[in-house]
Amino acid sequence: MLAMEYRGPQRVRITEKPMPEIKHPEDTIVRVVRSCICGSDLHLYNGNVPDTRVGETFGHEFIGVVEEVGTEVTKVKVGDRVIVPFNIACGKCAFCKQELYGNCHEAAPQATAAGGIFGYSHITGGYAGGQAEYVRVPYSNVGPTVIPEGMDLDDAVMLTDVVPTGYQAAEMGGIQPGDTVVVFGAGPVGIMAAKCAWLFGAGRVIVFDREEYRLEFVRNYAQCEAYNFESIEDPVVFVKRTTDSLGADVCIDCVGAEAAGSAMQTITGRKLLLQAGSATALHWAINSVKKGGIVSIVGVYGPTDNLVPIGNVVNKGITIRANQASVPRLLPRMIEHVQNGVINPKALLTHRIPLEEIADGYRIFADKLDNCIKPVLIPPSAGM
């Protein structure tokens, strides 16, 4: 089968790999019909996540058709079209039992801090990912969910990560009616977080990015204010000025380790790898939020340290809430929102790229070329 393969920082290609096999009674094999490239993949692509091995296949946002099931699988059957959440979660451990599916303790041997994720280095389990024609899907009684009748495949693939992640970003903000919410990042996740902030009753939603086309998109899509931080001298001062000098009630980091905007952070975090990525957006979030406010983090960082103003967290009495999205927990509600027209995920898919052109897909998404918001890969064997 064809699969994407990592060869080194900013080097990926398509290659022929053996078909995946059932390794565990709760496994299924899924034939991929849609698979996205995510901002999270860029941390791997840039070589910034430790224990990313040459030959790995990335991809944690995919949907497909069940081709084969293990002996203990009861939730799905051969022929089902399924949404596969990006989390690999057992459903049995103390964390899964409390719906912390992003924090399963039975899916990633290499770490205790991280749960299992498809195609996301060996820190999260070393699983082959979905930027391929076929994937092994462990714990198929927990994650995979049948795509509801009539749902567009392009909507369905966005439910594997972007929609629940943006939603959880807003949810973790503990937004109360009337709150001013600042979202850093107008990538797919930030766009969705801005949209979802209204669902929790936000009174004002402000987004920062530096890509004009993304700012324009989010302004229309999420009906919010959007500003280019490169044309503002100090985004933190800007937030203070526009909120009666008190700051936002809630700040959300939807950028993570690839953040731009501070030369010091970029050099130490992205070039020299002296910290676990550049923490510019998180820095701004902590400093822009009101005293007693909440900072919600879904932006992803590496496993080592980052330079953030922790003293201000203390002095301002900030609550920080963060996690990998718990997709299986949120999926039923997200499906409702899509079916009721509250959220229109497929509007974010700007590029349809054949799986064979994976290297160009990464380049376009990484460098924000051709007004790309979100690329979706179509394997040759998708057939739909």
Binding site: R11, E106, A111, Q168
Partner: protein, 165 residues
């Protein structure tokens, strides 16, 4: 709570201000305190361990499932094995892993060449897309590259002629 109250009977005031609503993890976590029972849950069936899987020294075992597609090998594999002697809070863990990743890239190139495949680095870096959508940046980079080479050459030549004097 009843059981705990009994257990902590000897501590005056134990739990008198406990407030279940005071939970910053809500609604992320449907709190049952299941983890208070420790690592005692009914574990899923163990996937047969038929490849080398490195596991964090902060957990007692290999998780019930794991991915085994790229087991550690070569020099990078040695570095990875070394790294896993250290905990997840230690630089001893992460720095060797980052180093292993870089060594692994060289191993990847050697492996390609051994198989008679010269990696097409331009294609792998998606330069076709850059050329199509971002030509000015490529031209700028190329110009900087040519300028740098010219500058080094001029400097070397200058130095040589200087040495003659």
């Amino acid at each position: 709570m009843e059981d705990l109250a009994k257990k902590f009977e000897h501590i005056k005031g134990w739990g008198i201000d406990a407030d279940p609503k005071n939970d910053p993890t809500y609604p992320m976590k449907k709190r049952t305190n299941a983890e208070h029972a420790g690592y005692t849950w009914d574990r899923p069936t163990q996937q047969p361990i038929d490849v080398e899987v490195l596991h964090s020294n902060e957990r007692p075992n290999i998780t019930a499932v794991f991915g085994g597609t790229v087991p550690p090998s070569g020099l990078s594999g040695k570095l990875r094995r070394y790294a896993f002697q250290y905990g997840e809070s230690s630089y001893g863990h992460w720095l060797p892993l980052l180093l292993a990743d870089r060594v692994n890239v060289v191993e990847g190139i050697i492996d390609d060449l051994k198989k008679g495949h010269v990696p097409n680095i331009f294609a792998e870096r998606g330069m076709k897309a850059s050329w199509k959508h971002d030509r000015s940046t490529i031209m700028k980079k190329a110009a900087i590259g040519i300028f740098a080479i010219a500058a080094i050459a001029a400097w070397k030549l200058g130095k040589k002629s200087g040495e003659r004097d």
